[in-house]
Symmetry: C2
Subunit: 165 residues, 2 copies
DNA sequence: TAAAGCATGTAAGAGGTTACATGATTGG
DNA sequence: CCAATCATGTAACCTCTTACATGCTTTA
């Protein structure tokens, strides 16, 4: 979901397309192609969520419109966690713009998704067809990474609660 | 990349669509929708890579054709690692069908990709705009997961070399 | 008997990828 | 001066998502 990412970045100040891409890259979203970025910008512009401000040279600086700001906050806050890794990471990147109690809720929702997934992985491991060692390695890795992410989330929740005191 | 996954599963024996989905699910590819699975099957059928064998009830069992077997082996073996997580996981799932020396090559290619990524993450962390604690958390998590995956790959490579003796 | 799971599909639309096209500016 | 990076875009193609449609079978 390019949209939330672009809105979030422009929420922090106007940028032009290339800068958006670079910032996304820094945030760990490698490989955002121009063929996906510029059409996304066009889309958002079409919805009136962003607008080109001034063009410095051949650059087009985009900023959030008032409508865009509202759309951003809705997108950031709303929506159950559907387990999409990418989307969660983007939401986290803009957590600063979310109310503290919503932050905790989002983290715990994510945690619940991962806990379910973990249970399912273990169920599968128990009753699946006798697997060769590579699929076993794959499944074990999935369990390990999921456990690790849950632990990480616990740390974030703890920090959030501590900071809120 | 549904294609490689479907070919790989049918390489191990004929299945019908629903079974393919279940097996994928077991392998950790949750959320393979029917709207992506059935068109994929149609696609592969159109290329002559798979063919419906017998229909038990309303089920359609698909099997690999000779051409499909060749296509599978090419897809599995070929292609540089472009860093796509999903694709790598699928390749690993069918590693048993790859020659031992190619397995090691694939693992090390993946390792190289991750090593590059790690270096980049660290570079970004050093020279990026002073970030709020959530983006910091995100970046640190990226570093940690990448390191962890590299260590895991090292384990796989070691096991592979040991097994090859 | 109702819900959950099995089983196959289609249609519309959103969105992404890859490749192409162009040109300025900056650094080694 | 050449390569890399900055900078913006288009076009064709492909694939996936979501929602709809249908109907059988198993299990609580």
């Amino acid at each position: 979901m390019m949209d939330l990412a672009v809105l979030g970045l422009l929420h922090e100040g106007p940028l032009h397309g290339y800068q958006v891409r670079r910032r996304l890259h820094e945030l760990g979203f490698r490989r955002v192609s121009f063929g996906s970025l510029y059409p996304a910008i066009r889309r958002l512009e079409g919805r009136g969520w962003i607008a080109a401000r001034r063009g410095n040279g051949r650059r087009k600086e985009y900023g959030l419109t008032e409508e865009g700001r509202r759309a951003f906050e809705e997108l950031l806050d709303a929506g159950v966690d559907d387990g999409d890794e990418r989307r969660f990471r983007i939401r986290l990147a803009f957590f600063a713009h979310l109310e503290p109690h919503r932050r905790i809720a989002v983290l715990e929702e994510r945690r619940a998704v991962l806990t379910d997934r973990l249970a399912e992985l273990r169920r599968n491991r128990r009753r699946s067809t006798p697997a060769d060692r590579y699929t076993v390695a794959l499944m074990e890795r999935s369990v390990a990474t999921t456990e690790s992410e849950i632990a990480w989330l616990d740390g974030l929740v703890a920090a959030e609660r501590a900071g809120r005191t």
